[in-house]
Symmetry: C2
Subunit: 168 residues, 2 copies
């Protein structure tokens, strides 16, 4: 078992954004009273120009209060078919700016808010990422097949994939 490589290179930052580009749902983990963890799937948007991650939610949802008390959150992205897993930690804040809601609004969000973007129930969660960790390999078959064989030959299981911690 090898420890992950720590990095803060621009290439690795870009790689993180590339890895999550096609993952439409992230699990958002927050902390509630007594240190209890909570998580739920959230529709993911592309990062903005400052690499902030934005999510739509209901102002009355428990996570809004959890974030106010404990702004450290974790986002977990999974793309099992590609054996692609990314974990991002950062600081979350609740944003009720109507102009920002309008800017990020898209019609499929009517699934949750049939009244549309002016529904006063809507707010945003803005997450400023601090670090990311990724585990990446070309495919599950690669891990189970080639990776397994190669690991047995070379004794270096890390050769079949890549695990890096990236400062964002």
């Amino acid at each position: 078992m090898e420890a992950p490589q720590f990095t803060a290179s621009n290439d690795d930052r870009k790689k993180v954004w590339k890895l999550i580009e096609n993952i439409n749902i992230a699990m958002m983990v927050t902390q509630g009273e007594g240190g209890r963890f909570y998580s739920r799937p959230m529709a993911a948007q592309k990062p903005d120009k400052d690499d902030n991650l934005w999510f739509f939610t209901s102002i009355s949802s428990p996570k809004v209060m959890e974030i106010a008390d404990f702004p450290d959150v974790l986002l977990s992205y999974a793309e099992p078919d590609k054996n692609n897993y990314v974990s991002i930690t950062g600081k979350a804040k609740v944003v009720q700016d109507r102009a920002k809601i309008e800017e990020l609004w898209s019609e499929p969000l009517r699934t949750w808010w049939p009244k549309g973007k002016d529904d006063p129930d809507i707010c945003l969660i803005c997450i400023t990422p601090e670090s990311a960790e990724y585990w990446d390999s070309p495919s599950s078959a690669f891990v189970i097949g080639f990776g397994y064989v190669k690991a047995r030959i070379t004794g270096k299981p890390e050769e079949f994939g890549e695990n890096k911690i990236v400062r964002l």
Copy 2:
């Protein structure tokens, strides 16, 4: 936005195990110093007869120390193709029982431990689940297509899927 339904029925417990049955990788979220979250993908095994969840890991990995300090963990299961997301919380403990390691060992684990099941680096993490939350719908297309349309007609977005919190 509707609150999830709370339940402790046997059918719902069975449903949780069914939903994670074919998900081979879970993201395990632990807590480190200063309340920082950490997560990593872990090869998932089927629950044992007492519904405990077992994972292989290295005795020298940071999560082993994190669990000793803070045994509350969260497991996040994602199957994006089926729009199936499950989150399980529970208490974790580290187990070094060689007989249990032998019982749960399977050959693909040689990817990580080429020396095999007698490698002294191997230990187990046993998680006793306390509760699960699931979000389930027949398919992503259903959510984006039918669900969207139905939500607009009925104003009841919860009709296209199911969100329950299950005591385990």
